[in-house]
Symmetry: D4
Subunit: 161 residues, 8 copies
C-alpha cells in the first residue's frame, strides 16, 4: 500500500493530538506514515525527509506543532504538495500561538490550517481524504458514507428533559 499521506509531528508529545488523524486514516485503509521531525531541532532531517517522501510518492503532508509552530510552514517551503497544519494546544496560551504561527503564512507558501487540537487532527485526515477522493471513487464513496453516518448518529439522539 502506497503511503500517500505523511504525518509529521514536532515532538513525540504531540502524538495524543495527532491520534484521531491516525485512527481515521486506518479506518479508511489509506496508506500513511508517521514521523517525529522538528523544524527547529532537526531541520536538515526534515528537509531530506520531505524531499525523499515526495520522491517515494507522498501526496499530502500533515504537520502538527505547538507554540512558535514553524513545522507546517517549513515543510511548505520545500514542496509544492499540499501541506495541512494542526495547531497543537499549548500549556500557557492554549494553542492561540500555535494557530497564528500555522495559519498566518505569507503569500506564496500556503498552509491549510485546521482547528486547534484533536478536532483539527481528525479534520486534517478527513481533508486529506477529500483531496485524494477527487480522483479516487472508493475514497469518495467512503467519505459520503462517513458523512451520512455522522448524520444518522446525530439524528438518533433523543434528549429527555
Amino acid at each position: 500500500m502506497s503511503k500517500f499521506i505523511s504525518i509529521i509531528m514536532g515532538s513525540q508529545s504531540d502524538l495524543t493530538t495527532v491520534q484521531p488523524a491516525i485512527d481515521l486514516l486506518k479506518e479508511f485503509k489509506v496508506g500513511f506514515e508517521v514521523k517525529v521531525l522538528s523544524a527547529h531541532r532537526t531541520p536538515k532531517l526534515l528537509e531530506k525527509y520531505v524531499e525523499a517522501a515526495s520522491r517515494r510518492g507522498t501526496k499530502i503532508f500533515i504537520a502538527a506543532a505547538g507554540g512558535a509552530a514553524a513545522l507546517a510552514g517549513v515543510i511548505a517551503s520545500g514542496t509544492t504538495l499540499p501541506v495541512i497544519g494542526i495547531p497543537v494546544e499549548t500549556k500557557s496560551l492554549k494553542g492561540l500561538d500555535s494557530l497564528l504561527s500555522t495559519v498566518q503564512m505569507p503569500p506564496g507558501v500556503p498552509v491549510a490550517s485546521m482547528a486547534i487540537g484533536r478536532a483539527g487532527a481528525k479534520n486534517a485526515a478527513l481533508f486529506s481524504l477529500e483531496i485524494l477522493a477527487i480522483k479516487d471513487r472508493t475514497i469518495s464513496a467512503k467519505l459520503n458514507t462517513h458523512k451520512k453516518n455522522m448524520r444518522v448518529k446525530i439524528k438518533k439522539i433523543k434528549i429527555k428533559v
Copy 2:
C-alpha cells in the same frame, strides 16, 4: 475549460480581498468561477449552488467571509469536496473573528483555513492548484516554476545601507 475551482464570497465587498486568488488562477489558466452567495442571507441558493457546482465538475470550493464567517463551514457541511476558507479582515476585530469562525471547525467537517486577508486569498488559490497538481503534471510544473521565480525575485534584492 472546465471550472474546477469555485470561489464564493459572502459579500460583494469581499472582492478586494479575493482578487489575488482570481489573478493567480487566471495566470495559471485554470478554469474557475466566482459567485457572491451568503450562508446567512442566501442559504438555499448557496446550498443549491454547491450541489449544482459539484455535479458540473467543481473539484474545490474557496470561500471568503468576514465576522461570524459561517460560509466555508456551511459549504463544507454540504459536500465532501475540499473547502478552503479565507477569513476576511473586519473593521473592529481585524479578522480575528473571521479567522476563529473559519478555522475552529468541529471534527467531521473540515475547512482548510488560510491567513486573514489578501495573503490568504493568494494562498487559497495556490493551495487549490497544489491539490489539482497531484494529478496534473502541467499545473505541477507551473507551480514549481512559480516557486522558483519567487526565489529568484528575492535573490535579486540588494539592500543598500
Copy 3:
C-alpha cells in the same frame, strides 16, 4: 402545551451547558422542546426542523454551539423568528471562538448572543420569557417574582468577617 421555545444544541455534549435553560423553562411551565442538530453535520435536517417548528408554532429559537459556532446564525438565516445564541465554552480557546462566531453576525441576520456557558444558557431562557411576557401577563408576573426573589436572596446574605 404549545412548544413556544425550541432549544437546539450542536452536539450532545452541549447538554451540560444548556441545562440551566431547560430547568428555568420547566420552572416557568412554558412549553419547549430540545433537539440535537448541527449546522455542520446535519444541515438539511436543521433546515427542515426550523421550517417545521415555525409552522407548528415555535416562537423563539435558542441555539447552543461551540468553536466555529455557525448554529445560531444558520437558524437565523432560515427564519424571521428571534434566534438567541449561547456560545459554549471550548477546550482551548475557552469560548472566545464560540462567542465571536455567534455574535459577530452581518447586518440583516440578527442573532442575540448571551454570555459564554451556563450563565448564558440561563439568560437565554430568561430572555425568551421576557419576549413572551410582552403579550403574556402570567409570564410577566412570574418574571417579576423571579427578579424579586433574586433580590431577596442577595439581601439575606450576611458576610461575617
Copy 4:
C-alpha cells in the same frame, strides 16, 4: 403611533453607530424614541426613564455603549422587558471591551448582545422587529419581504473576472 422601542445611547458620539437602527425602524414605520442617557453619568435619570418608558408602553430597550459598557446591563437590572445591547467600537481596544462588558452578563439579568458597531445596530433594530412580529402580522410580513429583498439583491450581483 406608540413608541414600542426605546433606543438609548451612552454618549452623543454613539449616534453614528446607532443610525442604521434608526433608519430601519423608520423604514418599518414602527414607533420608537431615541435618548442619550448614561449608566455612569446619569444613573438616576436612566433609572427613571426606564421606569417611565415601561409605563408608557415601551416593549423593548436597545442600548448602545462603548468601553466599560454598563448601559445595557443597568437597564436590564431595572426591567423585565427585553434589552438588546450594541457594543460600540472603541478607539484603543476596537470594541472588544464593549462587547465583553455587554455580553458577559451574570445569570438572572439577560442582555441580548449584537455585533460590534453599525452591523450590530442594524441587527438590534431587526431583532426588535422580530420580537414584535411574533404578535404582529404586518411587521412579520414586512420582515419576510425585507429578507427576500436581501436575497434578491445578492442574487443579482455578477462578478466579472
Copy 5:
C-alpha cells in the same frame, strides 16, 4: 471604630477573591464593612447603600465583580468618593472580561482598577490604606513597616542550587 472602607462584592462566591483585602484591613485595624450587593440584581439596594454609607462616613468603596463587571462603575456613578475595582477571575475568559469592564471607564467617572483576582484584592486594601494614610500618620507608619517587612522577607530567601 468608624467604618471608613466599604467592600462590596457582586456575588457571595466572590468572597474567596476578596478575603485578602479583609485580612489586611483587619491586620491594620481599620474599620470596614463587607456587603453582597449587585449592580445587576439589586440596583436600588446598591444605590441606597452607597448613599447611606457615604452619609455614615464611608470614605472609600472597594468593589469586586466578575464578567460584565458593572459594580465598581455603577458605585462610581453615584458618589464622588474614590471607588476601587477588583476584577474577579471568571471561568471562561479568566477575568479578561472583568478587567475590561472595570477599567475601561468613560471620562468623568473614575474607577481605580487593581489586578485580576486575589492579588488585586490585597492591593485594593493597601491602596485604600495609602489614601487614608495621607492624613493619618498611624496608618502611614504601619504602611511603611508593612513595606519594610516585605523587603526583609524577600532579603532572607536563599535559593540553593
Copy 6:
C-alpha cells in the same frame, strides 16, 4: 500653592494623552507638577524625584506610560503614597500591553489603573481629586458640581431622528 499631585510621563510623546489630566487639575485650581521621567531610561532620576517630591509634600503620583509600562509600578515600589497609572495607547497592540503592564501588579505594591488613553488621563485627575476631597470640602463641593454639570449637559441633548 502646594503641588499635591505629581504627573510623570515616560516620554514626551505621552503629553497628548496626559493633557486632559492637566486641564482638569488647572480647572480645579489644585497644585500639581508635570515631569518626563522614565523607569527604563532615567531610573535613578525617577527614584530621586519620587523621594524628593514626597518630602516636598506630594500626596499622589499619576504615571503615564506605554508598552512594557513599568513606570507606575516602579514609582509604587518607592513610596506608600497612592500611585495612579494611565496606560498609554501603543501603535501595534493599541495599549493592551500598557494596560496589562500597569494593572497586573503583584500583591504588596498597588497601582490604581485607569482606562487606556485620554479618558484614563482625565479620570486619573478626577480620582486624585476624589482622594484629596476626602479631607477638603472645597474640592469635594467642586467635584459634586462637576458631576452635576456632566448630568445637565447630557440631559440637554436632544436627538432628532
Copy 7:
C-alpha cells in the same frame, strides 16, 4: 569559578519555572548565581545587586517575573550588560501579561524575551551560553554537542501506528 550569569526571580514561587535554566547551566559547568529580588518589592536591593554583580564580573542577567513583569526591564535600565527575560505563567492571564510586560520595551533599553514558562527558562540559559560561546570555544563545542544530541534523540523516536 566566576559567576558569569546571574539569574534573578521576582518571587520564590518562580523557582519551578526557572529550574530548567539552573539545570542546564550546571550541566554546562558555567558559573552562575540565583537570587530572589523584586523590581516592585526590593527596588534598591535590586539596583545595588545589579551594580555589585556587574563589578564582580557578571556578564549576563536572566530575569524571571510574572504579571506586570517589570523585573527584566528595570535590570536593563541599570546596566549595559545583556538582560534576558523569562515571562512566568500567571494564574488568570496565563503569562500573556508577563510576556507583554517583558517584551514590549521602549527603544533604548533592550530586553531579550524568551517564551512563557519553563521552555523560556531553558532557552534563557542556552541563549546565555550562546553569548558566552562567542569567545569561549569550550562552551561553543558543548553547545554543538547539545544540539547534536537533541537531533539524535529525535531521530531515534519510532512511532508505531
Copy 8:
C-alpha cells in the same frame, strides 16, 4: 571591517521596520550586513547563508519577519550563534501573530525576541552591541555614553503646563 552582525529580513517591505537597527549599527561603526532571505520562500538560500556567514565570522543574527514569522526560529535551528528576533507589525493582527511566532520557541532552540516593530529593531541592534561589548571595551564605553545621552536628553525636557 568584519561583519559581526547579520541582519536578515523576510521581505523587502520589512526594511522600514529594520531601519533603526541599521542606523544604530552605523552610528556605532560596527560591521554588519543586511539581506532579504525568507524561511518560507528561500529556505535553502537561507540555510546556506547562515552557514557561510558563520564561517566568515558573523557573531550574531538579527531576523525581522511578520505573520507566521518562522525566520528567526529557522535561523536558530541552523546555528549556535545568538539569534535575535524582531516581530514585524502586520496589517490585520498588528504583530501579535509575529510576536507569538517569534517568541514562543520550544526548549532547545532559543530566539531572543524584541518588541514589535521599529522599537524592537533599535533594541535588537543595541542588544547585539551589548553582547559584543562583553569582550570589547570600545563598544562598552560607547554603550555607556549612549545610555547617558538618553538620560541627559530626557533630563532637559521641560513641560510647560
